[in-house]
Symmetry: D3
Subunit: 341 residues, 6 copies
């Protein structure tokens, strides 16, 4: 029987310009749907698990289309509530070379921000579940959403379900002061914490040394220092971060660091030629969760996560459509790109 | 020197599905921008007038794209304020046969609804202007927008500028009670009023007899009765309404009725095969305004308006791209559709 | 609790040329997936029922995409077997005016034709089911598929489930002699039979009088005569046929005739401007099934079916994406096509 | 052995806006290639004849693409000369309802207008040929092109080959005075003349009575009168004209009148829902030529021509991709548009 | 007079996803047509030779479209037989970075596999021919196709025509045991053999040392060893292989090795940024054939082949649309990519 | 008050093939409009200046669309004359790797080449202007256009306006002898001269040493030598050149050299992954002009210009849509391409 992983979060309409067009040039938008937690659900379904996504969407054709998009890729959407005013939107133009990709958020007033605890029956949702995952985006959406996130984490812990969170600080949604207050409260109920140094600082107040996120260099020591602080305070079972070397909008280095309180594991680093990097963090999270929930050792789970997310960079859209076999092949070292006939 | 017509209202991002696809089938959206008053401005520029559009858009690439769209078609956008949170959006799927076109509005929180009177210098805006036009949509957006509309109408009247309003009741934006309260106040400053029986009832409380808008039949007597009541109460110089016979989403009858307090003029009726009927009311309003502001007699202005808007039905998007020459040719009777080489 | 309807059949990859292009002009194909029984499942899900589709697809990304397409629209695909060589394909160019739409089938060797009874656990599939539906296409695919169809019908009847079949003779798949032999055997286990005169003749050997399918005229007496013969031989509870008047590839008349062994009911006739008529028969069948399985009287079920399928003609693709509300509105008479805001 | 028909004329790059967009709205152009005589060649190849097209295109990738387009549909292009400055272009926006399709020509300086007689070896070109066809467009392009046309007609007659011309007056290319001078000289060498009343007047000076081309009514008596005058002066074997009733840009009536000096034959009239009417005259000409060169009686050839060109109206692009079988089926009366499976 | 090269093989419908989409994401397919031998024919026509392609396609619009595609690029298709059930299809998704391109074949039951020797008149086909080329794919399709290949090779040799084969082992089509049996028989009649080490092993049983095809490193000694064995057994005049260094799906190294029994020639190596690598092997083969049949020395022919195929990697589709001039310019060293105005 | 910069030149219709397709493969063209001077105007508007573009376009929808394109991006087009025969066209296929982008010009007979001095009122055009810019393309179009260019330069100098020219030799338009004669006359009135060594030679006769434009290496000494000669002869205030290292059609090095008669400034060099390099020279010119006209020191202006044009390489179309903020951020060193949320 496949493992059941529940995620809670927002699903947004993503409108992206085609063919490297800038917003001011666009005559059409490509439509897809995504969001940090939905992306995790879809990837897990893709690997054969039961991915159950909990959210709220408006009761109109745009909300229905978001649900349909997740159903298409196997996500269990039966617990998605209907109501509220609108589906959050984000506009994306994909960059190249020294021109960064640009995101314009239009998510205020989204249905998921206007959510009431009574709309979700956590007992039923968590029935048979093995893992619960959410991100720091969900509590940032509104106080109601933060309360819901806390309720979900508590319910999961009460049922003995492993919990994980991807810190994902979003400066357009809240201040670091507010984030630290809320996230600190949430992290008490978290087993696995994912986030880079910047997130650790902005969401939880842990300072790292000497990492300039606009440079393409890694600072592993800084990460390790922060991980130790995080472990000390919250007792996380695992702490993980993907590590990006941003050479340009077209080429990145990509690896990950994981820590179990005892050992650090730094994965293989991939040089990725980027097709679409949105959702790459989520694809790492889902890969790591897949590894851990199916019983891989920490290092193998990390390698699975980083291989999965390396592949994500080559796939358009928010979701990771790399198959289980493809991820495993890449872990074994076949990145030669020879045609598969 | 060409006439200057100022309009005030919202400009929205329009996202429509291509090729008769339903929302749940769409993989791309076609992008255009429109709104009742912006559509009027663009059409007037198309006929050679100075169309000045007053609005507010967010200071981001989506707002800029809306402005660019209007500039492309010659609209003077120098008085469009920048700020606020977002550009209103409407989603459109185009119907066919017995399947109606469907609009999903997502306009709450638009920049134009969060507007402050100090953002607009009406003295400068109306400098050299001949006409001011707005619709019943603008005051419905928010109390602030309603106040702005009233201020604009008063400023226009103070400068001796002809004013017009298209009633355009929108049930998603306000109740008829609220509409009647606000619109009655506005109409004191209006010279030319455009609106069908339904609008006259919902916006102003005038009851017409025996018109079932879901049927494809005209009730001219009902219209005349309402027009007389409107004249009696507000003293409008002209009252006009387009008249639609909705046979299906593909085929409509289309004409107009105009009244100057003395005579009624019912235009020629066109049988239109519909490509895109959104904005057809605005194209009638802009045609009528064009006729009146350039000195055509009422009947000729009405024929210009209805010919212009008949052509609009054949053009995708909100804006009417029929040229002055094409409208005049159609008024003269050439609707044969022979290839123009 | 919503009704559960099981269908059995083929799901094909549909490749259609855009914009009225002929095959020899096409540079791209629009992709969708469909098939008589899959179309019924999706429509029923759309109306809120549990539509369970049983089939077999190849274990490759094309087969997965077919499943994904059905999941997107809510179909329960858990019983679709994986294996075999290929997904059947059909190529479509959409006609206009006097140029008929053209279908090129490429379905030989499809996975569903190479099916083994052991691949399906009917006991589990029919658990909680209220209705079973299939068509005359499935048994025509291969002897194995015919055997599977018979097994399914028998299993359904054994469980007391209502069964229906849409005769759907396909001359490229088998001869009328073979069809009559197989279909006569199947019809013993059928409660509701759908099919026009031509199908009744080719599949079951019932002769109707004076209906020339290339003409746009109905011959109700011929239909009634055939229906009586069918009732007499098989004791069907209901016999139904959609009735098409083919004026051209762009315009059709559309109604239906239903018979319960006592009374005939001829529905309202719709004049449809066609966007895509493929799947219209299936949309009638699904509408009729919806009506009957939810307890509507025969006439109302027939009106539901014909309104649903009238709307289908306006929607691209095989599936009917008309909503329950839209079908009911059209039944009540609102075909005016006014924009729904 | 299939018949060989040689045509002489211009092949142009056609750039058309998609989806009923106006020029000022277009972001892409659909590419195809066409021209009166090329269209005839391609249609004849489509019916199984040897269509040899003689022209001149620039020695660049745009010229090559024009040749490739004709080769794709089987045209023999071995005698197309290379050189000169540019390929002529025409821009097209497709109209609908009362909005006419609009063509913007950009053909000045085309390679075919700068042509030298020495570039073509008529002896070789006409080897084995049964028919030669050109139009009034070719001599209108330039004096050199007119001289070439005359040379070709003379060479054809010298070889005993049947010759035909489609008068096709183009007011952007020459005056009626110039046209009459040149065309009268050419018609001495013509066996079959195709053209409507307007062409007969503008190209040859024959006056018809009471035909207003902007109205949708036929004036058969006027045509007959003109045909008699043409017969009297030039001794044409056959004179033919397609007859269009222009109800709108979306709907036309379509038939043809043919005269052999003794009898008139007026074909069946088709009501066509238009997808693309460009090239419909050429499709009539090619159908008529097919009929006559393969030995059909005049009336049958005319019916073939009018059925072929009725189908052309439903096909995008300049070329007629209706197959021989489809034309014959329509001649027999099957215009019901039922799906061909 | 240009050289005539005859090729024999399959032409398939290629359906590829646009914009790096995975199969499960695709809503449209781009259409083109290709196959190893057809690709060679088209490239040779592009260089000015007479490329005659021999095959069999179904007698339907899909088969016709395949022929049209080749005609468009100048291929002589007069000897392509019509009949059988279907055109083979292959589905392609283009990879990037570490995600490999993926091909899903759907070619079983293709017309060319069900071929009869009597359908081809080799005497007529080889009339005036200078070269005959085929690949190891054709005999792998079916026993009938293998017999036809042998017949063609024998007929070519009997006429003194140079023959070449590209080994191209396809594991989905046959086993190495079967391949070796058939290919060994065919190679007796072959003058020029093209194939890499893997093909040499699987098709002919020659073992190379130390080449791991999933690595990006060349093993020239292994190749030379195998080439000597091949020369020894079959007496080929030339043996050649392209040499690919697969760094990723986006970047490859590309060169070639040729052997005439005396000397080895290793060409310049190109670093290619890949747009579409399908057909690159065929573009090398056609370049080499072009060089040899037009009398270039071995080294120059090899450089022509490798330059031609380096350019192919930058062109979408199966066919190589690089012009003769472009290939020659690249051979001379201009790979700077400066805009050609 | 923002600076006003006037430019004079041609605006062309640009038709480009999508998705790396070659011309012979294209089924659609992407439409945009551009030209050296128009590109400069649009970029300056983008940075907040008043960009006034002076040109002539035909009085048809294609000419109108060119104007609309510039208006969309804020260009003041009120002085664009209407008339003449046609809009110049250029066809573009975008290269990759070792395949160069290819441009086919079709600009003969363009309206701007048939221009009369009386069509422009320079006094009014230059009212309030700070800068005048043109290129060596404009005088190359025709003698009339050369005379107009001279008149404009003289008028600008008479008004004390700074003038600049981008030499831009176009070998399809004129010979170097003619260019030298005309350009030498124009340069008397020029303050800022932009052009590489090749342009300096072909347009003005200055010889540089050892620069092979087909190689990817810079020869700064050669440039400096030429710049000194240019300064000596014409007394330019500034001389500048962008410096391109053409590694391939996909990857270039990009920097610039500026000289003020005293010092040389060589900017930072960018490694650009190319999306569309057309218009990159114009984007450098506009960046440099922006810097100089707003008072930046030479080095800063040069860095602004080269950063702006580095970004241009990543944007499709002729125009540079990089914003002021983006250029400044890149100047400061953030080329990491991290997503901007």
């Amino acid at each position: 029987m496949s493992k059941k992983v529940v995620t809670l979060g927002e699903i947004m309409l993503r409108l992206s310009t085609p063919d490297f067009k800038r917003f001011v040039q666009a005559d059409t938008f490509d439509i897809t749907y995504g969001g940090g937690e939905a992306n995790v659900s879809a990837a897990l379904c893709n690997y054969g698990l039961n991915g159950t996504f909990v959210s709220k969407v408006p009761n109109n054709p745009i909300g229905q289309s978001a649900i349909n998009h997740l159903r298409r890729y196997g996500v269990d959407t039966q617990f998605v509530a209907r109501g509220g005013d609108r589906l959050g939107i984000y506009f994306l133009e994909t960059g190249a070379s020294m021109r960064a990709s640009q995101v314009v958020y239009d998510r205020a007033g989204a249905s998921i921000a206007d959510v009431d605890a009574s709309e979700f029956d956590w007992d039923k949702i968590f029935d048979g579940a093995d893992w619960f995952h959410t991100t720091g985006i969900t509590p940032a959406l509104s106080d109601k959403a933060a309360a819901l996130t806390l309720a979900a984490l508590k319910a999961a812990k009460a049922k003995g379900i492993t919990t994980s969170i991807d810190l994902n600080f979003r400066k357009k949604l809240w201040t670091k002061e507010k984030a630290r207050e809320v996230m600190t409260g949430l992290c008490e109920f978290v087993d696995v914490c994912i986030g880079n140094e910047e997130d650790a600082d902005l969401c939880l107040g842990f300072k790292a040394k000497d990492t300039d996120v606009t440079k393409g260099e890694l600072n592993l020591d800084g990460f390790k220092d922060v991980f130790q602080q995080m472990k000390a305070k919250f007792g996380f079972k695992f702490i993980a971060s993907s590590l990006r070397e941003s050479h340009s909008a077209s080429d990145n280095g990509w690896s990950a660091l994981v820590y179990d309180g005892a050992d650090y594991y730094h994965t293989k680093q991939y040089s990725v030629r980027i097709v679409d990097r949105v959702g790459s963090g989520d694809s790492f999270a889902s890969g790591l969760i897949y590894g851990l929930v199916t019983g891989m050792p920490m290092g193998e789970a990390a390698e699975f996560g980083v291989a999965a997310s390396a592949l994500k960079h080559t796939i358009p859209g928010d979701l990771n459509h790399a198959t289980l076999g493809e991820v495993k092949d890449l872990m074994k070292g076949d990145g030669s790109g020879r045609v598969q006939r």
